[in-house]
């Protein structure tokens, strides 16, 4: 009997699921090795079993469970708990699941404020109010804040090879590949030492010669661009040049912090300040947590304990 695989999405965009499907030809071989029991993106599946109406919902048992997306609503939480109950190994997949991701940026407002802004802003046609706004959680959580997970793989989306490697490792009962170091580790740009002391807007282009490879381009941070590479987990480019750098734009930080519990905003600003760079020249500092606002790192302003 093939190992069973279950892939659930919570507060997500389906990018992680598509990333797995984007694995290309090797995907077929991988799919052959598992039996997919639950994968809402690919197949229709009922969340309740008629014989167990006493349960709010039920999902099938699985050996490997993947969860993408953060936890923002009571429904996410119910589904997540059921996934946890049914899956022997649970993988938090993608930065939303591991660090809250883009949706967690709403953590800078209260849920009520968010709903008001999104659904009932005064200058637009008011939308329908939710029947039960109370089912929204107070903020967006990462998966690991709510249930224990065996493996975390960040990325927005994670590189297909990385997803496959983890599934392969679990199937082969190998040790899961270790987490990556920062984006800088495989970044080939040129290092010349301390550069600009202020941070340029993201809209500015880097200086480079388009006919030369990336390895001839000066480090973007040294060029004064806010490259999140040093504080962002690597892996987006495999062992090769990180993806954004290939496009000659600074890393946006989408893999979240390098270290579990790390704070990209604090680590980045601290490192900049230590290098004599004016950290106050960063526009909208909280945007440095755009991918990792869960774990309480983004909070509504004004609370002072």
């Amino acid at each position: 009997m093939k190992p069973k695989l279950s892939f659930e999405w919570l507060h997500a965009c389906s990018g992680c699921e598509i990333a797995l499907l984007n694995y290309g030809e090797p995907l077929l071989a991988l799919l052959n090795r598992v039996e997919i029991v639950h994968f809402p993106l690919l197949m229709d599946h009922k969340y309740t079993r008629p014989e167990r109406e006493d349960l709010p919902l039920s999902l099938p048992e699985a050996d490997i469970g993947l969860v993408s997306g953060g936890v923002a609503h009571q429904e996410h939480l119910t589904v997540l708990h059921e996934m946890r109950r049914q899956c022997r190994t649970l993988i938090a997949l993608g930065t939303c699941a591991t660090h809250g991701g883009i949706p967690a940026m709403r953590n800078q407002w209260s849920t009520a404020d968010t709903l008001q802004t999104v659904l009932a802003a005064g200058d637009t046609e008011p939308g329908p109010m939710l029947d039960e706004p109370s089912l929204f959680l107070d903020r967006v959580y990462s998966v690991d804040e709510k249930v224990p997970v065996e493996v975390s793989l960040p990325g927005c989306p994670p590189q297909p090879e990385l997803i496959a490697a983890i599934i392969e490792a679990l199937l082969n009962k190998d040790t899961v590949p270790p987490a990556n170091k920062s984006v800088c580790e495989t970044c080939p740009t040129l290092r010349k030492g301390k550069g600009q002391t202020t941070i340029r807007r993201f809209l500015d282009n880097a200086d480079y010669d388009r006919d030369q490879p990336v390895s001839r381009m000066r480090c973007l941070l040294e060029q004064g661009l806010l490259c999140m590479g040093p504080v962002t987990a690597g892996g987006c480019g495999g062992k090769d040049t990180p993806l954004c750098l290939r496009a000659r734009v600074p890393c946006r930080g989408c893999y979240g912090p390098v270290r579990p519990g790390g704070n990209q905003l604090l680590d980045m600003k601290n490192a900049l300040a230590s290098n004599g760079i004016d950290h106050r020249s960063i526009v909208d500092r909280k945007s440095l947590l755009r991918f990792s606002g869960a774990h309480g790192l983004i909070q509504p302003a004004g609370k002072r304990r």
């Binding site: 920062s182 800088c184 580790e185 040093p230 390098v258 601290n270 490192a271 230590s274 290098n275 304990r305």
Partner: protein, 1027 residues
């Protein structure tokens, strides 16, 4: 004598601070040392003091590490209760006869438990406490004594007088150490050189009745006062009137008791230390009791040392100590209640009566008769003031070759001068015996280190009572019980003094017996005592870095003495913090690098040349840099020393010797342009004249850049040709220029440019210099009128003699104050000097043929650049700031760099030479080690976490970090950083910068700091605000 018959051992006589310093410097330079001490424990006078000036350090606390270092040094043999009877032989091969008095306690058995003393029925006056307290017939000199072994005072012991009586101590002594049958012993010891650090005794004011000492109980000596103030003294630091125990309200210090006095004693000299110690004692007592009325009665305030005048000024302006210029000739009782009456004439000439309730006699220093006799027996010349007769040019050499001398035996002096003297004597002995270095020493090889990496932590916690310093506030038994409950702690012990030698020995035993592999000491501060305990760990065969201190004295018991409960709580937290930290510490190995066996000496004056010659004799290569085209420095302008020795002749000899020493390479017209490296391996770039730069490799550096003289802007200098500076006058005088030859009236003005608002320090040598010139002028033509206008005459020490001589010759001394300086104007062919006469109370007009200005000594302007290059501190006056004013007077906190001479502070030639030798001793002691161990608390890169983002690289102030590329097993190019362990100083700026904890300082890792935080907050309440 032929060099191969020399003996590679040295005897140091006297275990005070000077002798201890000499012993340590000599022993560490590769010679065996016999340290002979006449009492039962080394330490000398320092342990009796409460604090020391001008740093206000606790005296015992700064000397304790040196005591222990002497006590445990493999190449120092301490001989207590011993006196030298005779020395025969000659330099290189002396025969010393030593007699040792019985201790009656077996030093190998005594565990210093103190039960004997507690039970001993006989009490006598305690000399250590200056007779204001009692001690038992069986006693230790003081609680931190080295060796910490009891001794029986045969004059007091009942049993020794009568074999049938008492003997309690022998009955109860747990190890059975008491032996009433001990007999005096004689030792014959062969050594190559002898250092006499015989020390001093304080003048006994009871000899003269005038001060009422011994008659009125409220007249005490300054040493007794010191013991009253000491927290470990008989009154626990509480001052009360000895007569009735009532609080003291008004204190008078009387200066020059037993000094500058031919009437009541024969001590004509100035004791040089009493002004400063009186100010210190006054400040200490005012600090504790600001409402007290404290006056110091003095003739001249002699505070010529570094930072002394500032201390004096602070005492006056900040602490409100009163200074009254008047010598008090008698103390009388007032009423029958212990009050005392002083009678004096004020500066204004009025008769004043003061009633005080405590008189402190600032007693002077003198050489004990027994020492004078010993010196006579050995054949050492003494001065009329009964100090060792020494030449200013050879300030630690006695009249007998191979016998050196230091400390107060060379003339009254303070602690730094004694420490410098000890080192200087060491340098001289070492230079003499260089050919037999390491022939008598035992190798100092610590036992093999136990590998504890695979062992689970077994922590021993040693909690120090520090007498009552800690235990008087903190509930130590509760804390000890708590410590025993902490994870991994297998042994907890309380000690009266954990730093005492016997506790150290015990700690070694416990580490071995119980298999302890990590140690926590809860005591004072790691800043002073960590090195000591680390050595203990090393001796016990475990890595010295598996150690942590909990600072429960300085940062707990002392600062929470009014809240013992909080202090006890805090002590527990501090110990818990230390325990979690020590649990995660790892063994560290210092990086050992070879030492380049050469010295760079910057400055070719007498100081530089002296240091160069000594180190050259010690066998090292010397690079001597001189910024001008000539050796000699400021001494080129000097003609004689204070005792009349001829400087130019000496200087010529010195230059010649330096020039003819093959391992001294001299570079003229040379300056330093860059310095890199560190102790043992400096690379210095120099530029000579207009030629190209070149680099020099050297292991140590000595800064002897001297000073410059002040060009007066006052007193019409440069406008009236008959107003000259003293150095110019010396030249005119030597050539008997007409202005001098025909002059009939000469006026010297002192403190020109010194001791003012801009330069609040004393230039130290000008008083002596002016008086010498005046005497010479007067002797040439006795009819000449000579005036010295002064603020305070500071002919400290034996220089006082020339001051007396000048007055006897009829030279007129007129005092002026800073706010009323003399006025100078042109008159006919001469100069008119107007000054207010304080004795006659009217302005005085002097028609002078010449006016001589005693101009200040200024810090060399080049010091700033050199300080930057070597990263050394300068004081507010621009002189180099030594590591510690008292005990490290020629060193810096930067290892391997030393200072001597005027670069350090203005001083006379003999003190510069002494300091030069001391610097050479320190430099030689380092070079003798051949290799140096660098502090291993440096940055370590965690290969699992570092990814070469490189954000740390530019933050490193020492440029010790570089980016490294490497290939992983798959051949992918990856990055990390590498730390140059030699350049890294362990500041941890990289650690504070790294976004992913990829680099940490050994001993201060993120995990260790977090563990300490957690331990500190374990009992903290959650922060959420709850109603």
């Amino acid at each position: 004598m032929s060099e191969d018959t020399m003996i590679g051992a040295v005897m140091v006589i006297g275990g005070g601070i000077s002798g201890m310093q000499a012993a340590l410097d000599i022993a560490d330079s590769g010679f065996f040392v016999y340290l002979v001490e006449k009492t039962g424990a080394i330490g000398g006078a320092m342990p009796q003091y409460n604090k020391v000036f001008p740093t206000n350090d606790c005296s015992m606390c700064i000397i304790a590490p040196k005591l222990v270092e002497c006590g445990r040094h493999a190449n120092i043999s301490i001989m207590t209760l011993s006196e030298v009877i005779d020395i025969s032989g000659r330099a290189g091969d002396f025969h010393v006869r030593v007699s040792e008095q019985p201790r009656y306690v077996d030093i190998n058995k005594c565990i210093a438990c103190g039960q004997c003393s507690a039970q001993c029925p006989k009490s006598v006056d305690d000399s250590f406490n200056s007779y204001i307290a009692k001690r038992k017939a069986i006693f230790i000199k003081y609680p931190q004594a080295v060796p910490l072994k009891y001794q029986i005072d045969p004059a007091a012991c009942l049993r020794l007088k009568d074999p049938d009586s008492c003997g309690i101590c022998a009955d109860i002594c747990p190890p059975g150490a008491i032996d009433f049958d001990h007999q005096p012993q004689k030792h014959e010891i062969q050594v190559g050189a002898v250092v006499m650090a015989l020390g001093f005794q304080t003048f006994d004011p009871g000899k003269a009745k005038v001060w009422g000492y011994g008659v009125y109980p409220n007249v005490i000596t300054s040493l007794q006062f010191e013991r009253y103030l000491a927290p470990n003294g008989p009154t626990d630091g509480v001052l009360a009137r000895p007569s009735d125990g009532k609080p003291v309200k008004k204190i008078a210090f009387l200066q020059c008791i037993g000094s500058r006095d031919k009437n009541h004693c024969n001590n004509e000299y100035c004791s040089a230390v009493c002004c400063m110690y009186a100010i210190k004692e006054a400040v200490m007592v005012k600090e504790a009791n600001p409402e007290l009325d404290v006056s110091i009665f003095y003739i001249d305030m002699r505070t010529p040392g570094k930072e002394f005048d500032r201390y004096y000024e602070r005492a006056r302006s900040e602490y409100g100590v009163k200074f009254i210029r008047s010598r008090i000739h008698g103390v009388e009782p007032k009423g029958g209640k212990g009050d005392l009456r002083l009678h004096y004439s004020s500066v204004q000439g009025k008769q004043v009566e003061e009633i005080v309730d405590l008189v402190v006699l600032s007693v002077g220093l003198e050489t004990p008769d027994s020492m004078v006799k010993l010196a006579e027996k050995i054949g050492i010349h003494m001065t009329p003031d009964r100090f060792a007769s020494i030449s200013a040019f050879m300030p630690v050499h006695t009249s007998k070759k191979g016998i050196f001398t230091c400390g107060a035996f060379n003339g009254p002096r303070d602690i730094p001068q004694s420490v410098i003297g000890g080192s200087a004597a060491a340098a001289s002995a070492v230079a003499l015996l260089t050919s037999v270095r390491n022939t008598r020493t035992r190798p100092i090889a610590p036992p093999a280190e136990r590998d504890v990496r695979l062992q689970s932590p077994k922590i021993g916690v040693f909690i120090c009572h520090c007498g009552t310093n800690i235990a008087g506030v903190i509930d130590v038994s509760e804390v000890a019980a708590f410590a025993a409950t902490l994870p991994q702690v297998v042994h907890v012990e309380r000690n009266l003094f954990t730093c005492a030698q016997d506790t150290q020995d015990l700690m070694i035993q416990q580490i071995k017996n119980l298999g302890l592999n990590r140690i926590v000491v809860a005591a004072c501060t790691p800043r002073t005592h960590e090195p000591l305990f680390r050595k203990t760990l090393k001796s016990a065969g475990i890595n010295e870095y598996l150690f942590e201190m909990a600072n429960i004295r300085n940062q707990n018991a002392w600062v929470h003495s009014q809240d013992p409960e909080a202090a006890t709580r805090k002590a527990k937290d501090l110990i818990r913090m230390a325990v979690v930290k020590v649990t995660s510490l790892t063994a560290l190995k210092p990086l050992r690098i070879p030492i380049t066996p050469s010295a760079l000496i910057i400055g070719g004056g007498v100081t530089g040349m002296t240091a160069a010659l000594n180190l050259a004799k010690q066998g090292y290569q010397i690079h001597l840099l001189e910024k001008t085209s000539q050796l000699g420095g400021n001494a080129l302008h000097l003609f004689q020393t204070w005792n009349g020795e001829h400087v130019p002749r000496y200087l010529m000899g010195l230059q010649e010797e330096v020039n003819n020493t093959p391992n001294i390479e001299i570079s003229y017209n040379t300056t330093v342009t860059a310095v890199t490296g560190h102790v043992g391996d400096f690379t210095t770039t120099i530029r000579s004249g207009t030629s190209r730069k070149r680099t020099i490799q050297h292991g140590v550096a000595i800064i002897t850049t001297g000073a410059k003289r002040y060009i007066p802007e006052e007193y019409e200098y440069g406008k009236i040709p008959k107003v000259v500076a003293s150095i110019e006058f010396d030249k005119l005088h030597m050539h008997n220029e007409t202005r001098v030859a025909n002059g009939k009236s000469f006026v010297f003005i002192q403190c020109v440019g010194s001791r003012n608002q801009e330069r609040p320090y004393c230039s130290k040598s000008c008083c002596t210099h002016s008086i010498q010139s005046a005497i010479k002028l007067k002797k040439e033509v006795p009819s000449r009128q000579i005036y010295i206008l002064y603020r305070e005459i500071r002919t400290y020490g034996q220089r006082e003699r020339i001051y007396s001589q000048a007055r006897e010759l009829g030279i007129i001394f007129i005092n002026y104050e800073l706010h009323g300086p003399p006025k100078i104007s042109r008159e006919d062919t001469g100069v008119l000097v107007e000054v207010w006469d304080h004795v006659l109370h009217r302005p005085l007009e002097i028609k002078a043929d010449m006016v001589i200005l005693a101009s200040a000594t200024l810090a060399s302007p080049e010091a700033v650049e050199l300080a930057n290059l070597f990263k050394l501190p300068l004081n507010a006056d621009g002189f180099f700031q030594e590591a510690h004013a008292k005990l490290r007077p020629v060193e810096f906190n930067v290892d391997g760099v030393f200072v001597a001479g005027l670069a350090h502070y203005p001083k006379p030639l003999e003190e510069s030479i002494s300091q030069a030798l001391a610097a050479a001793a320190k430099a030689g002691r380092l070079l003798a080690r051949k290799e140096i161990a660098l502090e291993p608390n440096t940055a370590l890169v965690d290969p699992v976490l570092c990814d070469g983002c490189g954000l740390c690289i530019d933050t490193c102030p020492y440029r010790a970090i570089s980016l490294v590329e490497y290939l992983d097993e798959a051949g992918t190019p990856l990055k990390t950083v590498a730390i140059d362990q030699v350049l890294c100083k362990g500041c941890g700026i990289c650690q504070g910068t790294c976004p992913k904890r990829g680099v940490t300082i050994a001993g201060f890792t993120y995990d260790q700091i977090e563990a300490q935080i957690d331990a500190a907050l374990m009992d903290a309440l959650p922060t959420e605000v709850t109603p």
